[in-house]
Symmetry: C2
Subunit: 711 residues, 2 copies
């Protein structure tokens, strides 16, 4: 399958040349690299002759030695073209094409005894990645990064979908504005979040999504964030400039480097079609293949959870009425609060339901001692990850779940105490192996310990990867919440198969999400990797659950179904209470049916902040699933079935918003109908306000097709 | 064996009383506690009517709430007398007497909604311990300590043996001066040490030893340092005042507390006899008994090491010529430097020697990959603690050592990267279990990671204890170097059986130790617990080793023998090269003979900075060992054998400095003679300049005693 074209043009330039230019394989993108008169590296990028990035400086400021900022000459440059493909362990496509032109410039500082770095550019048809490389050489082994000096000079005052820069949280809502408006909106955008450390200067996090007045879609992010702090950008509104701002450590340094070393890739995905942005695999391509020898145990998974009931007020994570507990306490002596969710009996109820409906996994939160005062105290010994509450029978539930073909998913909330988690890690994973847990949801709610470190700093970046690698030793899959946002590392560490790392469904129960939020996520957070968005809330009017919560999930029921397609993840939750699914078995059928792994993906139509319609072919099956969503505005989605094999009829089951549906007035109105479709079919489907459409397409027997109308 | 007298006098004082007084069981010490007019706690201490501590304030400053400093009333006070005894797992005495008068005052802050703390004083015959207690109560669970406000107002400008306050090192030499001279000597005393963070203000570390003009010996330290930063004292020379200064964390906070909580005990050991200071068991008594259920595997140990040869220039820890290595490197591809010490062959040579001479343990440093650039780079992934260098055969050496009845001692140098060590801890200990290592020497040379934390801060204090407890899970004994100095925790965690935590023998090869150093250590560092001083250097003129080192160990050979008695430790090293012991088999006999565990200890004579003479009875045997040392001044030691059972003759083997011996001119001149002694014998023995005397006393048969003269 792999075809590999390797073309090396090595140009040894002895001082004279100051500029290099490469074009993307399809010639649409042109990257120009040059040195300024002060010997500062500079790059610019155009797309179909439109400026994407105007000349912008590059460099690395060093804390404990001379910086890699100026006084450079180009001592070498090499251009390469790569065109091959590879197969991910799971994903949106069975085969991913990897086609780019590469330029590597070697930059030497004569005034620093010929110390040199390299900057490596990879220009794909849909964007650019570049990184700094620090080869081993005399006089350069260990150094400390004070700041990265990467600039992105925009060609106009673009529209931008952004959240404010912050060292500790990526759970802000998105703000849509002109780039120049960011400083004036920064304060408003910085809402209160548990554990946050906003950057004082106007700034944005990546992924950030921009759209130019002349119709270019530009996405800024990074790829392969390893042993380095996360990238954020300070905003110079006046000069339409973004400037890198790395997340610091406890004493203000940014990164501790040992040669050979490199920065993550800085990515600029660009197209004149919004759908190309969503279809881009550039970030994945910039990550390295996994080194895991055996990946057969890594499998996509659908799951339910003893989870949403905590958010709607039905029960509690904590077992007792105590308000001040220690891991050394005997919790069996505590007074139960009568509201504990993770009881053996309640978990059995979930197991029964999941088993009946073929849902493989069941997450149980609140099973382990320590929840009485787990949050807000910067406490280190919060959990030990192996001691259940007195009313949670680990061995018994393992046996019960196994008999019913259900696998329990472990929960490791750390409360931000990474040191405590690492102390317990091997034992916690051994405990999981002993008790049949194939996957763990990790959580980092709270200020980080080591105190002064941040969720997105180099130390925590290394922590998350350490957890993923250590988990792999035990054949455990990891779904992290509140970790640094993903950068395509699920290619390299495929058992780290999902993350939250954004404002997810839980916030629907904490004030609600804007209807447009889920149309922005694919263009921002999800550019880095799969999101455990935890969709599937059928009872969107939370008061109807009867537990005193009067909030509302700001979608229609059908939009929740569509999420299983619009939001790619190999891990998908059916997040609502079993009793709510029991009320809508016909709609629940879509969640039961929808695939988790795909042969191919077709982004049919998309506009950030407005709508997304995506179709996907189930891996190894002649089944397709389509999801379409809209923001607060009703719209007509267009589903062109041309992705279907030609000349054959299929049965499409359409889950649509009811004619009078709307997220705020009539969210649970839906229709389900079956029709016949071919590759020539085109569906025009009305979506309600914050509504959606979900479609399954399957082969059918003559009997099954009998009586069905053509679309 | 235990006799326990419990006497409770509970005084409920409703506001009126402001002062409480208790006396030590022998009435010599009197503690007075009172509140100032501002409701500030204050204490004072006298010994035989001489002031030891003049009225001094107490309090705790809180970072995130009102402080526990003033506005107190005494809402309760209780006095108790305890007189019992206990048996340590190992120690200087088989049975330790625990006899004190206790005063607990409950202090309430009416202005803070009746928030209260307790201060607990325990007054022994040889000193005072007191601590702050924070009981669980409404409105007080979690709080952060900004600073402790404990004062010690001295009664005069005492002589003091001190080292400067520092967050990261206790390896300074001691300075002897008047208390008022500390500020002017601070800079000179703060010599350069790998990884140091001196306190800016004039300050001293504990243990600090003072002597008053009127003959009182006063020792300041702390006991049971758990979940709290180490105590240091700022020096107010003008007012003769010491004021507590706790070691901060990365962001400047001192301690993170959760009720019920308490500070460590602040100790003031006092007597008019210097020998009483050394005999004090107050610090041990203030620690809690071990919670380990099985301590049968914890055993004193004598050992040699592939260690001193690194210091004298014979060989290196590192295996290769590389200067920039990563744990992922294949070290077998590196060019050997030809000087690696921990080779299979060399280790076998040590095993042979240790086996021949009945030395049970053998430490091997430099066995694991990573030593090429382990120091000075603030590097996290320095060692993995399980991967040997290519020329070190773990399995083969385990078998070889086992066949020869020798146990290898593991070495875990962390380079200060505590996070990295904790990540590997379980696996490292499993590796030790698999390969027959019963004990580990840990090391913390370098700036701490998490960066910004300090060797002596709360986080690292917890780390050392975590390592000890985790090691206990694997039945592993721990000997820590560069950890926070001990505070009697070997009672609670008896497998943490030795520490360096001071300037030890290694510094004899790095500029040398002052001859008086080892006469100060028992009064300072060793007040907290056993020291792995690594004595036994016979070839004190290092040039004679022939490896280009021209330094000198500043003692006579016999003083090195005496250390095995004057410096108590259940872990004792015979630190010199085997070839040097082979040259002096008669002197080496003392090291082979000397016991490690004791039924009783008799401090015969002592003066800090001048001399120490100590006798001990071997546990369960009619054998006694005596060691006497002096500083740079020759002296005549007096050994009164009255500790021997009456009416019986024993054979004493006397190892003495030769008549012309001196540490700097003639260090290896010694005599050995056997004489008969009884409980009535008194030896007057001349000690050379920085010399010593070592004596073994055993029962002898008539044949053995024949021809021996009475002393």
């Amino acid at each position: 399958m792999k075809h590999f074209i390797f073309l090396l043009v090595s140009l040894f330039l002895l001082g004279g040349a100051h500029a290099q230019t490469i074009t993307s394989p399809d010639k649409n993108l042109i990257l120009k690299f040059e040195l300024t008169s002060a010997g500062r590296p500079s790059y610019q990028l155009t797309y179909k002759n439109k400026p994407v990035v105007k000349p912008s400086l590059l460099g690395i400021e060093v804390a404990n030695g001379p910086s890699f900022v100026e006084g450079f000459t180009i001592s070498n440059s090499e251009t390469t073209t790569v065109n091959d493909s590879w197969e991910p362990v799971y994903g949106e496509q069975k085969t991913i094409k990897n086609n780019y032109t590469e330029l590597v410039v070697t930059l030497t500082q004569k005034a620093q005894k010929d110390r040199f770095i390299k900057i490596r550019f990879r220009l794909f048809n849909d964007g650019l990645g570049f990184r700094y490389e620090f080869p081993t050489q005399n006089g350069l082994t260990y150094f400390i990064i004070k700041e990265e000096q990467t600039e992105v000079n925009l060609a106009g005052d673009h529209k931008i979908f952004w959240m404010p820069g912050d060292y500790d949280t990526n759970e802000y809502p998105y703000t849509t504005s002109k780039f120049s408006e960011i400083p004036s909106l920064q304060k408003k955008a910085t809402i209160q979040i548990t554990a946050q450390q906003p950057i004082a200067a106007p700034s944005v996090q990546t992924p950030a999504m921009l759209k130019s007045a002349d119709g270019l879609y530009i996405n800024l992010h990074e790829a392969a964030l390893i042993n380095y702090p996360a990238l954020q950008y300070e905003v110079d509104a006046k000069n339409l400039k973004l400037k890198s701002h790395l997340v610091p450590d406890a004493i203000g340094n940014k990164g501790y480097m040992q040669t050979p070393a490199q920065s993550p890739w800085r990515t600029i995905i660009v197209s004149d079609k919004a759908t190309d942005i969503l279809a881009s695999k550039t970030i994945l391509n910039l990550n390295t293949p996994t080194e895991y020898k055996d990946v057969s145990w890594i499998k996509p998974m659908k799951y339910m959870g003893v989870w949403w009931e905590y958010f709607v007020g039905k029960s509690s994570w904590a077992y007792s009425t105590a308000t001040n507990v220690k891991l050394t306490d005997d919790f069996s002596t505590f007074k139960p609060n009568g509201r504990h969710g993770a009881t053996t009996e309640n978990v059995k109820r979930y197991i029964d339901f999941a088993s009946e409906h073929g849902i493989e996994g069941l997450l149980v939160e609140g099973w382990n001692i320590g929840w009485e005062d787990w949050i807000g105290n910067w406490k280190e010994d919060v959990f030990d990850f192996v001691t259940p509450y007195p009313d949670f029978n680990v061995k018994g539930l393992y046996a019960y779940a196994k008999a019913k073909n259900v696998k329990l998913i472990m929960h490791h909330e750390t409360s931000g105490a990474a040191t405590n988690y690492e102390r317990h890690l091997d034992r916690a994973f051994e405990f999981m192996n002993e008790n049949g847990y194939p996957a763990v949801k990790t959580g980092y709610v709270g200020s980080i310990i080591p105190r002064g470190e941040h969720h997105d700093g180099q130390m925590m970046v290394n922590h998350y990867i350490h957890v993923a690698k250590r988990a792999a030793d035990y054949k455990i899959m990891v779904n992290s919440h509140e970790a640094v946002r993903p950068t395509g590392l699920h290619r390299t560490y495929p058992n780290w198969f999902a993350q939250e790392s954004a404002r997810g469904t839980e916030f629907e129960a904490m004030g609600g999400l804007a209807p447009e939020h889920s149309t922005i996520l694919p263009f921002t957070r999800m550019m880095g990797g799969p999101m455990d968005y935890t969709p599937g809330i059928f009872q969107t009017e939370l008061s109807k659950n009867g537990f005193g919560h009067n909030g509302r999930v700001n979608t229609t029921l059908v939009k929740q179904l569509a999420y299983y397609v619009t939001m790619y993840s190999p891990l998908q939750m059916a997040a609502d209470l079993p009793e709510n699914y029991a009320k809508y078995p016909d709609a629940f059928q879509f969640i039961k049916d929808v695939a988790l792994d795909w042969d191919d993906t077709y982004v049919l139509e998309a506009e950030p902040g407005d709508y997304v319609t995506t179709a996907r072919k189930a891996k190894g099956k002649n089944e397709w699933y389509i999801g379409g969503i809209t923001d607060e505005n009703p719209r007509t989605a267009t589903v062109n079935f041309s992705f279907l094999p030609k000349g054959k009829k299929y049965i499409a089951t359409l889950y649509a918003d009811g004619p009078q549906a709307s997220y705020d007035k009539n969210p649970q109105s839906y229709t389900i109908r079956k029709v016949l479709v071919t590759s020539k079919s085109v569906l025009k489907q009305g979506l309600a306000s914050s509504g959606g459409v979900a479609i399954s397409v399957k082969e059918g027997s003559k009997d099954e097709m009998k009586g069905l109308k053509n679309l």
